[in-house]
């Protein structure tokens, strides 16, 4: 700023600055002196107050002194002085009224109280004065006058005695007066006592005179005398009380008030002194401050003068030097050289401005050069940016020559997407980039392009280098020459693979819902149905047209109460899904159980827009559950039967063995043999019952072998035919002879026998009783398997046993497979037939169905077919005992009775028998007779070491050992034995000796 001024202005500026500093000093001095003046006035004012306080204190002391003078001396002038001083004090306080304070208020109050007390004192004092100087004197005078009168009268009578008494009374009265006055003069209370004593004396003297009427002229007079004395005394006592009253006032009340005035005046003085000290310090401080300011201002002024001198000198030399330097630099083309900031409107200023113009010109030249450089750089960046944008655009771009359909240019994106390098793509025919699947569409699009110059949103597939394809959306524009001929295209492809996949996903989801077996309904937020799937219609009976727009409450059955639905809505409104089993109502009014799951569907902001309800019909599940429960029940029975079968069969084995031996021994006694046969029949009947139960519970011993089902049927029917009466027609209808199943012949025979027996019982009352057995091939496809639980896909041999009986009552149908369920009369049926059928068929992985009506019953057995295998011989063996050739058999069984009986039986049919009671003993025995033993028959379950393990160890000794098992029931599976590993024959106990003998021969034959 200073540098911009002209020299003359600088000098003026210097003077002006000094002048301003001087003015500031004057202003500060004025303000400071003004403060000092105010402080001085305040000081004077406080001095006046201090003087007033002093005056007040003096007046208080003086007023109390005057009050005491008045009190004790009775000088009226002193009382007047008190009033005058009171006036002065009031005036003093009024003068100091401008300086109000609590102390001043208290002083005023105490002065007022003081004067009130003094005025009372004056009254008391005057009253006392009057009492002493008038009333008391009058009373004394009256008393004396009365006596003087009597003395005069008595002197006339010359009664010296009475005169003497009167004189004494007078003397007493004088004493009273003397003591009374002394009291008032000295204020010594002892004179009160003396005075009172005087009054007593006088009274006594008068009383004494009163008793002598001759001496006192009349009683009335003495009474008057006593009254005078009493008045005298009362006046005295009142004067005493008045005296004490005013003494109390002046010495106690007034002195306390006076002291409080003095005390407060002193406090006020202290305050004033403190204020004055403060003012004094404040004044001194102000003056000190002023002095400091002046010194600082003078120094400042001196500095400014010096500074201005330097500035003016430098303002001339420094710019010239600076400008010289600047011009030198400018002449060399510099545009950065600093131009001295000398903007004054003088010659140096002109030079400065010229230098600035010079510099600006240099700068303009430089700027133009820089701009050219920048433009070049910018252009380069723009090109790079364009290439970058083009190459890295999210979409695929290419230019194709219209005439040749060759790729002229493409971006990196398309190259990357298709797996090419850019240079590989350029020059390629555009058609080569499309997938063959869409070539027709490509041709059509190209044709359209040639005709119109554009292609809009053509959905095509590009072919990647690896042959895979990309779903794209093609848009093409054209570049034409000035004649409108299309030169080349600008093609852009948008990769829509994700979109397509998403669409596919949606399609699948939609189909999943549509094809779901569970009923799906979608409602809006208000519960209005917007969508249902076919399963919904299937389960509920409502078509889509009927359901859309309805509320799901159309399904309400009334089986759920209001609280149920309140809880449901409460859950749903809270955003949670809800699930429960419900009983709904179909369109036709039927109720059906279902598991209903409802979920709220929320939009992005979390607001519920729809609800989706999924109903899973529980009818099939409930049926399955029932089936499951049935299976469990069956399993329990099986476990029970299995548990007793082993011991039971062992016992029966013992019985039947012994029966056989008994029969052999009693051959000569036909009656005995007959009875033993009956016992044997009953024993084997009991064994059959157990077998039935074991078969039902699938615990029995089965030996599954491939067999031709048609041959089996024929053989079995042959046997059955003979047991049926001729009146019953039994026919076999075989529709397919080429079917192999894997089965246990014994069980299947039993099955068929049971079914034929049941059919026979059913047709007893038929007019033309007929039983027909059909065999055909049955194909279980998907639909069948879905609808028939337990079936598997595949082919079955279906055996149907059809009768024309009275049918099974519907209420019995569900129970016919239960063990011990029978509708036959007592003793005719065990209730195990169909149960055994059921268990045996299951053992064979087959199925059994019953269709019954009033016209008859059809039982269908389906046994899975096997594709290969050699069918075993189904010929039924004769019931004949085959004797041995003296071979040695090692018989192993833990049941001693069985062991002994079997030993006897075997020895009876020409075998040599060794026995062992468990596996370990058997091994020892075998080792001892390894070369003698031809066959080992082992029980399966034994203590210490079971039959299976023992045989394994014996095989370790002799791998070619021949052996078979005899067991009460098949615990092998429960024992964890893999039946596949066992090749040995098994005979179940109790066994017929014929069967045993035949099996032994079979094994021995190898």
């Amino acid at each position: 700023m200073f540098g911009t001024l002209k020299l003359k202005q600088k000098v003026f500026a210097g003077f002006l600055s000094v002048g301003l500093v001087t003015t500031a000093i004057a202003a500060i001095s004025y303000v400071s002196f003004d403060n000092v003046l105010k402080n001085f006035k305040g000081f004077v004012e406080y001095s006046n107050r201090a003087e007033l306080n002093l005056l007040l204190a003096h007046n208080v002391s003086e007023i109390q002194r005057q009050a005491l003078i008045y009190t004790y001396e009775g000088h009226q002038s002193a009382a007047e002085q008190v009033h005058a001083l009171y006036g002065d004090m009031k005036q003093t306080l009024e003068k100091g009224e401008s300086l109000k304070s609590d102390h001043a208020d208290l002083i005023q109050k105490h002065i007022h109280s003081y004067m009130q007390a003094f005025e009372q004192l004056q009254q008391q004092r005057e009253l006392q004065h009057h009492l002493i100087h008038f009333d008391l004197k009058d009373a004394a005078a009256n008393a004396e006058h009365f006596l003087q009168l009597h003395i005069q009268q008595q002197s006339l009578h010359h009664d010296n005695t009475e005169l003497l008494m009167h004189e004494r009374i007078l003397n007493s009265l004088l004493s009273i007066e003397k003591y009374a006055l002394r009291y008032f003069n000295t204020l010594d209370p002892s004179y009160i006592q003396k005075t009172k004593a005087g009054f007593i004396t006088v009274r006594k003297q008068i009383q004494a005179m009163k008793t002598d009427k001759q001496r006192l002229s009349a009683g009335t007079e003495s009474t008057n005398a006593l009254k005078n004395i009493e008045t005298y005394e009362r006046t005295f006592l009142e004067a005493v009380q008045r005296t004490r009253g005013y003494l109390f006032l002046v010495n106690v009340v007034m002195s306390a008030e006076a002291y409080e005035i003095l005390y407060n005046a002193r406090k006020m003085s202290d305050q004033v002194t403190q204020e004055m000290t403060t003012i004094e310090q404040d004044t001194l401080s102000t003056l000190q401050q002023l002095f400091n300011y002046i010194i600082i201002a003078l120094l400042l002024s001196l500095l400014m003068v010096l500074l201005l001198s330097v500035l003016i000198g430098r303002s001339l030399t420094k710019p010239i030097m600076g400008l010289t330097k600047a011009f030198n630099a400018l002449s060399q083309g510099s545009h950065k050289t600093e131009i001295p900031p000398y903007q004054a409107n003088d010659e140096i200023g002109d030079l400065t401005r010229a230098a600035v113009v010079f510099k600006e010109k240099n700068l303009q030249t430089h700027t133009l050069l820089e701009q050219a450089k920048a433009l070049t750089q910018e252009l380069k960046k723009s090109q790079e940016k364009y290439v970058d944008l083009y190459d890295n655009a999210p979409d695929m771009y290419a230019s194709v020559e219209a005439a040749t359909a060759l790729v002229l240019q493409c971006n990196q994106t398309v190259a990357n997407k298709l797996g090419y390098r850019k240079d590989e793509m350029i020059g390629q025919p555009i058609f080569a980039l499309y997938h063959a699947d869409c070539m027709d569409k490509v041709q059509a699009a190209f044709k359209s392009f040639i005709e119109t110059g554009v292609v809009h949103n053509a959905e095509l597939q590009l072919r990647k280098k690896d042959g895979s394809k990309i779903e794209v959306n093609l848009n093409v524009t054209s570049v034409r020459d000035e004649n409108g001929q299309i030169l080349h295209s600008r093609s852009s492809w948008i990769d829509i693979t994700d979109r397509k996949q998403a669409e596919e996903k949606v399609r699948k989801l939609s189909q999943a819902v549509d094809q779901s077996g569970e009923a799906v309904a979608i409602t809006d937020a208000a519960g209005c149905i917007e969508y249902i799937n076919p399963a919904f219609s299937l389960i509920t009976g409502y078509s889509e047209a009927e359901a859309i727009g309805q509320n799901p409450r159309i399904l309400k059955s009334g089986n759920q109460d209001a609280a149920f639905y309140e809880k449901m809505w409460s859950t749903l409104r809270s955003g949670e899904f809800w699930q429960s089993k419900v009983i709904n109502k179909r369109k036709n009014g039927d109720f059906y159980p279902s598991m209903l799951t409802i979920s709220p569907i929320k939009n992005d902001s979390g607001k519920i827009t729809n609800y989706i309800g999924i109903q899973q019909s529980l009818e099939a599940i409930e049926a399955l559950e029932a089936q499951f429960h049935q299976s469990q029940k069956m399993e329990a029975i099986g476990t029970l039967v299995g548990g007793i079968a082993h011991d039971f069969n062992n016992n029966l084995a013992g019985i039947t063995g012994n029966l056989y031996l008994a029969k052999m021994a009693a051959k000569s006694l036909p009656e005995v043999v007959k009875r033993l046969d009956s016992v044997e029949t009953l024993s084997f009947g009991a064994a059959a019952t157990i077998q039935q139960l074991l078969a039902f519970s699938r615990k029995g011993i089965v030996q599954m072998n491939p067999l031709s089902i048609s041959s089996f049927l024929k053989e079995t029917i042959k046997l059955q035919q003979v047991s049926l009466p001729e009146s019953v027609s039994l026919q076999l209808q075989v529709n397919d002879t080429d079917m192999l199943v894997k089965g246990d012949i014994n069980q299947l025979q039993q099955v068929l026998m049971n079914l034929i027996n049941n059919a026979f019982d059913a047709v007893q009352k038929s007019e033309n009783p007929a039983i027909r057995i059909c065999l055909d091939r049955f194909q279980a496809d998907d639909d069948f398997v879905t609808q028939h639980n337990g079936y598997r896909l595949g082919e079955y041999a279906r055996i149907s046993v059809v009768d024309n009986g009275s049918g099974i009552k519907p209420e019995h149908l569900n129970h016919v497979f239960e063990p011990f369920f029978t509708t036959k009369e007592q003793g005719k049926g065990t209730g195990l037939g169909l149960a055994m059928v059921y268990g045996a068929v299951k053992t064979h992985d087959g199925m059994v169905d019953i269709i019954s009506s009033l016209q008859g019953t059809t039982v269908q057995l389906c046994l899975p077919l096997i594709m290969s295998g050699e069918a075993i011989d189904i010929a039924v063996q004769e019931d004949q005992v085959v004797d041995g050739d003296g071979e040695m058999i090692l018989l192993v069984d833990d049941n001693k009775t069985v062991l002994k009986t079997a030993k006897d039986v075997l020895e009876g049919i020409n075998y040599v028998v060794l026995t062992a009671e468990d596996g370990l003993a058997a091994i020892e025995t075998y080792q001892s007779h390894i070369n003698d033993i031809d066959l080992v028959i082992l029980d399966v379950v034994m203590p210490r070491l079971g039959g299976v393990e023992a045989l394994k160890m014996i095989k370790d000794i002799n791998p070619d050992v021949k052996a078979m098992f005899a067991t009460g029931y098949d615990k092998l599976r429960t024992l964890g034995v893999n039946q596949q590993e066992m090749t040995e024959k098994v005979i179940s106990k109790p066994f017929a000796v014929s069967k045993l003998s035949q099996l032994i021969r079979e094994v021995l034959r190898g």
């Binding site: 005025e119 009380q241 009253g245």
Partner: protein
Amino acid sequence: MKKKSESDLGRRDFLKTCGSMVVGAAATFAFPAIISARDSKPTIRVVGTHVTLQEALRQKAEKDLGINIEFYPGGSAEVLLKASTDPSSFDLYEQWSNSMNVLWQANAIQPISINKLTYWDEINGLTKTGRISPGAKIGLGDAPHKLLYAQADGSLGANPTGEISFLPYVHNTDSFGYNSAVIPKGIPYETESWGWLLDERYAGKVALVNEPTIGLFDAALAVKARGLMDFKDMGSMTRSELDELFKILVDYKKRGHFRGVWSSVPHSVELMRSGQVDIQSMFSPGVSALNGMGIPCIYAAPKEGYRAWHGVMCLSRESSGERQEAAYAFMNWWLSGWPGAFIARQGYYISNPERSRRFMSASEWDYWYDGKPASQALRGTDGKISVHPNEVRTGGSYIKRFENVAVWNTVMDSYEYSLLKWNEFVMA
């Protein structure tokens, strides 16, 4: 513990009103108002202070006795002057025993016949013999028994006769109070001492009551406790003893030891509340008021003993006939139990306490008379809670207090001279 006792400021207002008393007495001898007056029944006029002239008592007495009663309450000096100069203006006079000499001397009252006092035999030994218990010391000065009996020679004395000068009834003890926030709390009867009033540590913060017949004894007890002088008989100081006492006091005063004197209970409260004073002569209502303001003022139990006062009820010389009978009935009513229980709840004692006991709860008796902790909150005569559970009255039981009386409020023979010296002290 906060001391709970006398709540009535009336007795203590006398100093403030003594000035106006003189005016009233000198000007008209009439009283400002008649509180109650009825014509059909005998009417008695009772002059006294606010301590006992309470409206509740008057109404109860009227109801119980079937007479009209007019109360004329006023300041102590005022009523004393009134009674001593105009016996016809009242039937009964209720004040302090230190006014007895004046009244008796002024022939303002007539002897009371013991035969007419129903409960005379129940009055305890404090008034009759000067001792509350056999081992108790008799306080100096005008102990009430010295003024009780009307002697044959017309004087008053302790020698039992058939007539008494006053009916003994309400009485209590006084001491000094100190701000325990400033002065360390002392142990009652052990470390608390009148000598504290002259302790240099409290210089400038000490005040005395502005009443020579009371404050003089506070000062004398303090001087004696400090060992500065002794008295032949503190209850009857000679002029030379007064000279010596006031010489000491004036010396202290000039050295700035005393803030000054107080002339009313509110004045004493203000001095301690404002911090101008830390220790001073006090009346119990002032102590209660300060504690109510949150100032922890302790009413000391000085080891040297209390300064005690005794209320008197006197029969006017002019009372006779039907009015005299009614006056006797009123006197007997005062000792009939209920009034004693009533004033006990204000912290005052009655001369036949046992008769009042049946009108007090056990908890009240324990606290007010036995010096035991209050087992429950106690209500004052205004119906408000005045004593909180577990509070203990400072100074202990009634017996304990009156076994420790150092001096009785007394108008000494040197009264006039003491006034003069008092002035010197106050103005020093």
